[in-house]
């Protein structure tokens, strides 16, 4: 057993964690402000998504150490997210169709 190699567990400077922590607070504050100022429509949705993805990215990259993790693991974890994105796309279409048929048959009758 190579002791020197076994002890080689990466610890990072405390500054990184404090910075990410602070950024998460600021971003959460911003996303709360989106509701506070009652932004509506496209602006609201864009801001919500931007802050959400920034927060999620920071948590995964630095708090969950994905930034320093072996590429194979990162790839195995992130590619399945495309399946979720496809599912979202399918269900957006399905939701619109259901909404349309409901309105249609509520008006026309079955």
């Amino acid at each position: 057993m190579n002791q020197a190699k076994k002890e080689e567990t990466p610890t990072h400077k405390i500054g990184i964690y404090l910075w990410i922590w602070g950024l998460l607070f600021v971003l959460s504050f911003f996303s709360y402000m989106v509701d506070w100022f009652q932004f509506q429509g496209l602006l609201r949705w864009t801001l919500i998504l931007i802050f959400m993805f920034l927060k999620a990215g920071l948590i995964m990259m630095f708090f969950m150490h994905l930034f320093w993790e072996r590429y194979t693991l990162v790839n195995v974890l992130l590619w399945p997210m495309t399946a979720i994105a496809c599912f979202v796309g399918l269900m957006v279409a399905e939701g619109k169709y259901t909404f349309f048929t409901r309105l249609f048959y509520f008006v026309v009758g079955s």
Partner: protein, 234 residues
């Protein structure tokens, strides 16, 4: 496990095909427990995605107007309704506990037993606060007549999605709090310094367990980021 050849393996993008086509272990140099926790979190991601996607589909196809979360989750402070106040505090509490957990992982690897243990305890207390506030929120809404099948604010589907999604997330937080207390005790007892064998697994204790526990806790925070955005803010 000893990985003497890790330095000689390709790095960066080239490591992906070479790792995936190699013998024995796919994730070179990654602790197996950590890899397994990641795989579990991936499956959990799919479960939460299914909940949030069904919520999206239910809301998109609701004919009645969707209740305005900004008003439904408002709290009265000095006679004025403050929108989403409790939810905002819950978000900040969870992020705080995520930060203390990240520091606990760092100090665990640096074999700083005391600081690591107390930071995990602080994380657990944050989690408890979160669950407590969620219980308060649930009872408030139930008092106002929100049920999985009806509510006084608008579309009937609102209640079932609310209880399902926040309930499943709250369950995760509660389980996390239990494990945080167990591991805080183990750390402060010094099990990770002596390498004492675990009760269930009879494997030698190692501070990597704190990172694995941290992964779970950060994931709970991560899910809340999405719930906060899609359920409360949208």
């Amino acid at each position: 496990m000893d990985q003497p050849t890790l330095d000689k393996l390709p790095r960066g993008w080239k490591s992906v095909p070479s790792d995936l086509n190699s013998d024995q272990t796919t994730f070179k140099g990654v602790n197996w427990g950590k890899a397994m926790m990641w795989i579990f979190l991936l499956s959990d991601t799919f479960i939460f995605s299914c909940f949030l996607i069904s919520y999206m589909k239910g809301r998109a196809s609701a004919v009645e107007e969707w209740p305005n979360p900004s008003q439904v989750f408002a709290l009265e402070v000095g006679g004025f309704p403050v929108p989403l106040l409790l939810i905002a505090i819950m978000t900040f509490v969870l992020i705080t506990s995520s930060g203390t957990m990240a520091l606990a992982v760092k100090y665990g690897y640096e074999k700083n037993k005391k600081l690591c243990g107390y930071l995990i305890l602080a994380t657990a207390l944050g989690g408890l606060t979160f669950v407590g506030m969620q219980a308060f929120e649930w009872s408030k809404l139930i008092h106002e007549g929100v049920r999985p099948w009806e509510n006084p604010f608008g579309a009937k589907q609102f209640g079932s999605f609310f209880f399902m999604i926040t309930g499943f997330h709250g369950t995760h937080v509660s389980i996390g709090v239990i494990f945080l207390f167990i591991f805080a005790r183990k750390v402060l007892k010094g099990d990770f310094d002596t390498g004492k064998r675990g009760y269930f697994t009879s494997m030698k204790s190692d501070y990597v367990a704190i990172e694995i526990l941290g992964l779970y806790w950060h994931f709970v925070d991560l899910v809340w980021v999405f719930i906060f955005a899609f359920f409360y803010l949208w």
